[in-house]
C-alpha cells in the first residue's frame, strides 16, 4: 500500500429533511493516501470529521452496488473511483434523477418497482423437466446473456439517463437490461408476457439512444445495447403477430 499522501478538498452535498429547505454544499479537507478511492475519503470524513454525514455503502469491492454517487458530475461507483484520477477538488452529490432522502442517500423506490414490473425471473409455459433433472443450458446459450447478469443495481445508469430525468414513467436502463437478460435466457418462455410492458410507450421506445447509461456502467453491462436489441426483437414480434406467424404473441 502506498504511504504517499495527498490533500483533497471534498465538497459534499448535504440535506437534512427536518431542517433544510434545499440541499447545500459542505467542504471537508481530507488527507488521503494516493491509492484511496473516493469512498475511502468519504469514510474518513464520517469517522474523523463529521459523524452526521449519511451515505450508503457496504462491500467496498464493486459487488453490492450501494455506493453510487455523482463524482464531479459523473455517476460513479465511489469504491471504484480512484482519487489519483481526480483533481484536488472533488464535488460529491447524491445520484442525479432520484429524490434525496438525506445527504448522499437517495430514494430508490421507483426503480425497485420498475425492476419488479419487468418480471425478472424465469417464466415457464411447459412443465419443468421430469424428476430432478436440471434445465440444460450450453455455454453458448449462457454467453448470449451473461454480460447482462453482471448488473449490481447501483443505479448509475438511471442517474446518467436524460430520458429518465425528463420522464419518470420511462422504465429505464437497468430494468430493461434485466428484462432482456431473461428474454435471452433459453430456459425462459416469458418473452410474450413481458412484451406489453417493454413495447409500451414507457418501455424501449422511450429510449432515444443517448448511450450515457452504458458509458457510466461500472460493470460494463451495456444497457443501451440491450435496449436497441429489444427494439429489434419487439419489431419482429409485432410483425409475427400481425402476420399470424407461430411464436408471435397470441
Amino acid at each position: 500500500m502506498s504511504t504517499r499522501t495527498r490533500t483533497l478538498e471534498l465538497e459534499i452535498m448535504r440535506y437534512d429533511p427536518e431542517k433544510d429547505k434545499q440541499p447545500w454544499f459542505q467542504s471537508y479537507t481530507v488527507p488521503c493516501l494516493e491509492d484511496w478511492v473516493i469512498l475511502d475519503a468519504i469514510n474518513y470524513v464520517k469517522e474523523n470529521l463529521d459523524t452526521t454525514l449519511a451515505y450508503r455503502w457496504s462491500c467496498h469491492m464493486m459487488v453490492c452496488g450501494s455506493c453510487g454517487m455523482m463524482v464531479n458530475g459523473e455517476p460513479s461507483l465511489t469504491c471504484k473511483t480512484f482519487i489519483r484520477e481526480l483533481p484536488d477538488k472533488v464535488r460529491i452529490e447524491p445520484l442525479e434523477n432520484f429524490p434525496i432522502e438525506r445527504d448522499l442517500v437517495v430514494v430508490l423506490d421507483d426503480v425497485i418497482q420498475k425492476l419488479h414490473k419487468v418480471q425478472p425471473y424465469i417464466i415457464r409455459k411447459d412443465p419443468p423437466p421430469a424428476g430432478d433433472q436440471e434445465y440444460i443450458q450450453t455455454p453458448g446459450q449462457l454467453a448470449i446473456f451473461k454480460q447482462l447478469t453482471m448488473c449490481i443495481n447501483c443505479m448509475c445508469c438511471y442517474a446518467a439517463c436524460p430520458q429518465y430525468a425528463l420522464d419518470r414513467n420511462f422504465i429505464g436502463p437497468a430494468a430493461l437490461a434485466l428484462a432482456h437478460r431473461y428474454n435471452r435466457d433459453n430456459r425462459d418462455q416469458g418473452k410474450s408476457d413481458r412484451l406489453d410492458i417493454l413495447a409500451d410507450h414507457d418501455g424501449v421506445w422511450d429510449c432515444s439512444f443517448v448511450g450515457a447509461c452504458s458509458e457510466v456502467c461500472p460493470k460494463h453491462v451495456d444497457p443501451a445495447a440491450a435496449i436497441q436489441q429489444m427494439k429489434i426483437d419487439g419489431a419482429v414480434e409485432f410483425w409475427k403477430q400481425k402476420m399470424g406467424i407461430p411464436g408471435g404473441k397470441p
Binding site: 434525496i100 454467453a143 430525468a165 450515457a212 445495447a225 436497441q228 436489441q229
Partner: protein, 131 residues
C-alpha cells in the same frame, strides 16, 4: 424523524447543457432539421420533374450554384460525423452476432456496414450517370 425527500429540479429546455455527452447527443439530433430540409427538397424536385422540363432544368441549375454546393458539402460532413460514423460504430451493439460461445468481432460488423455503404453509394452514382 420524518421523511421529506428533496426532488432536484431539471430544466426541460436546457437539460442537455449538463454535460458534454448530452451536447453531442443534441448535435446528433439537430440533423433532423437537415432531414426535413432534404425531404422538402425531394418533394420540390419531384414536383418540378412532374411539371415540365424547364422547371426540372431550373431546379438542377439552382442546386449547382456555388452557395448550394457549399451547403450540400457541409450538410454531408455534418451527416457523416453525427450520423454515419457514430451509428456504424454502434451497429455491433444493436446487432451482435453470436457464434457459439464467442461473439463475431465488432470490427467485422462495422467494416461490413462501410462496405455496404460504399457499394450502395457507387450504385447511386452509377444511376445518376456519374460514370
Amino acid at each position: 424523524m420524518s421523511r421529506n425527500p428533496y426532488v432536484r429540479p431539471i430544466s426541460t429546455t436546457t437539460w442537455y447543457m449538463r454535460n458534454g455527452r448530452y451536447k453531442v447527443y443534441m448535435l446528433r439530433e439537430l440533423t433532423s432539421f437537415l432531414v426535413v430540409f432534404y425531404s422538402l427538397l425531394t418533394i420540390f424536385a419531384l414536383s418540378a420533374l412532374a411539371d415540365s422540363a424547364d422547371r426540372w432544368n431550373g431546379f438542377i441549375a439552382s442546386q449547382q450554384g456555388k452557395g448550394m454546393m457549399v451547403f450540400h458539402a457541409l450538410a454531408l460532413l455534418y451527416f457523416l460525423f453525427f450520423q454515419t460514423f457514430p451509428w456504424f460504430k454502434l451497429a455491433p451493439k444493436a446487432m451482435p452476432v453470436q457464434l457459439g460461445e464467442k461473439r463475431l468481432p465488432d470490427s467485422y460488423i462495422i467494416i461490413g456496414h462501410y462496405v455496404a455503404w460504399i457499394a450502395v453509394s457507387i450504385c447511386i452514382f452509377w444511376l445518376a450517370g456519374a460514370f
